[in-house]
Symmetry: C4
């Protein structure tokens, strides 16, 4: 573990928090996390609310480090009550370096209606035949519930929490954020289309083009995404 | 009655008024009230409109004190025409310390459609099997209509006024505000889901978890809520 | 005709223009007018567009005076192409002192669907069993079309122009504006309710209460309305 | 080719980019182009993303010149990956001087539902019996796909790209922008009306009036449109 890495991780998680709040995917709550490379720890947004603080002023000092049991290793706040959605997904998915828990209103509405977000548009290419739905509105506040969630996520990049929110994952926090924003964007399209009847996902042929699409989903594009949503933050 | 208490009550009611206006639950009209501890009086937003003033600049000086008949005890304005929705609920509900009358657009739409807001999501856990609907769009401007409203409210925390608005109650003005905001938030979800068919509330099991949910609905959480919506006020 | 009256009329029409633009009822176009007391003339917003100006900076100097044939009497601009919707309504309705032509998006949507805005809520009490619909999307740019429009308006306070916009009238410009804002507000409610089936207007009993409702629709309330929407203008 | 012309073209394309972004028709991506008079070249927004820049700060220096094969002739950036939607439309349509590729959310929703935008309102008079729909969500990143798109566009002014976006054309960039904005505005109306059943376009009689409508669609009106949307840009 290199100190410089952890500093950068904390800065990115604080920025991710402010971006998600600004885009309406966090409200009073929500939390992102990232593995700490070379360790069995993760950095996650701490529980600020004991100090009556909202997420608006989240700074790197608000990011804490916990182990894979969710126990505090270092930091100024307690872990979030739902720390187990992070730890249990990391245990189940070695390909995942970042987990993000959001409260996206339209995705929640589709979840209540039992309609999985699907690859109906370019923003939805990561969602294929449909995002899995976790059927309970309970908090993910025990390791057992976290394991059940990880099982339902399977090898997908997102899971909808019925009546509650969503969780997305990524190789980086930038990707987890990008998938969260695309999930809600695609859900909004599906909500509009819903009144006209059932929506089919893109053709397999179109989807295949995008699984091999070069510049449109490159590292370059993830960097631009990060700048774009950063520019929308209040100054 | 302690003077310090009344000063704090008036500050909170003025702030509640500006928050409700800013969140779109008040428009030209709307009024919150709170019992004055140790007395048979209540503090309520006065009728500012004789001076052509809107609610945007509401200050503690605009909060008046009335008795349980709705008669002015102290203050710079007349009572609101609908004072009886406050007085009659206080008479019927000894557990209630605060009453809030709002004009939430989506809740009004569901009321017109005859659809009670239900516990379909986390924001809706206080609404169980459905919020009662007061079936007339009339003003609550006589003690008799106020009594009828209190009867329909029963032991619930909210009542929808068909074609008109809503009333929520709480042990504190913070709770009454929180319930009003959650009522409209849940109504918005139900409106989105409505096109896909009838919506079922959460399972009894999930609801039971939340009736005993610890930190998520603690005093701490109500304090954060108050800070969060305060931060959204125009500076 | 008193000069002071005309100055006040022009100030009010310019302010009405900026309010309607700010509330989304005017876009590039839209125009209010008022009779000039003691004359057979009317003041109306001139056609600014020859100078590539939008309505954002409308000032009293942009209000012109025309006669009942729509011919310019005094002012810096040509009359609007649709001047005949003003002149023909004034000829047909001696009780009307002000006419307002808007482009309200949701009212337009209901007009296309053939659904009249009705008294389904407090904001809609002026619309009774339904606002008449003018069935063509044509411009009201001849006296003959203006007469047809006046005939369809009849003795109502509003008329929907299918695929085009709306016209409201009043004893004053404040009332014509208030009715335009309430028309769109009520249309928004009806749009939300529409997915759940046909909407019935308020009961005759409730409507009767409001036709005799005292403070809630008094001159005082019109004055507050004017202040409220004025406060929302960009500074 | 006159230098002064190219300078003006680049300024207009940069301004068009910022307007489309501000109105929500561009997001991270989108690009306008214009023929360079007296040459076989076109000016088009370059691919800024290699420098992690968004469209918010687009300036005339970001506009590049390419030939009709999409090869860079002059400028600071590479051509966009979808340059072929521009080149192939120009080859097929000698009446077109400007092409605009947007990502309008409601138009995309209607495209997914298979519903062409039609002339249901004044804003839609350019869309007649229905805008053609390109049935694949693929990128227009080869000459062959560009030719197919041009074929589906035919002699219309707009084409919807299913699950992806839209392309509009014009005799000028102002017209292409105006048609893009009207396409989305009309789509929004159709989305609202959709819950009430199928929507018919205007009568042939009304449409005929507008094909010969004088001031309402004059050069003057295009100039005002440009000023109107320019005024809405952040300062």
């Amino acid at each position: 573990m290199v100190v410089k890495d952890v500093t950068e991780i904390k800065e990115k998680l604080a920025r991710a928090t402010r971006i998600m709040l600004n885009e309406g995917l966090f409200d009073l709550y929500g939390h992102p996390s990232t593995r700490v490379p070379g360790t069995d720890h993760l950095c996650v947004l701490g529980h600020l609310h004991g100090e009556s603080r909202t997420l608006r002023t989240t700074s790197p000092e608000d990011i804490i480090t916990v182990d894979m049991d969710g126990t505090l290793v270092e930091g100024n706040h307690e872990p979030p009550g739902e720390i187990y959605l992070h730890t249990e997904i990391y245990k189940a998915r070695s390909d995942v370096n970042s987990v993000l828990h959001t409260h996206p209103p339209v995705t929640i509405a589709l979840g209540i209606a039992g309609i999985p977000v699907k690859a109906v548009c370019l923003a939805g290419v990561d969602f294929g035949q449909g995002v899995p739905i976790f059927e309970s509105a309970c908090q993910i506040d025990t390791p057992e519930i976290g394991q059940k969630l990880a099982q339902i996520l399977g090898n997908q990049m997102a899971v909808m929490l019925k009546g509650h929110g969503a969780v997305t994952v990524g190789v980086s926090i930038e990707q987890a954020c990008s998938i969260s924003l695309n999930l809600e964007k695609t859900a909004k399209l599906m909500l509009m289309v819903g009144q006209f009847g059932q929506v089919q996902p893109m053709s397999a042929e179109d989807l295949a083009r995008y699984s091999n699409r070069g510049r449109h989903d490159s590292k370059e594009s993830r960097k631009v995404f990060w700048v774009y949503y950063g520019e929308r933050l209040p100054q």
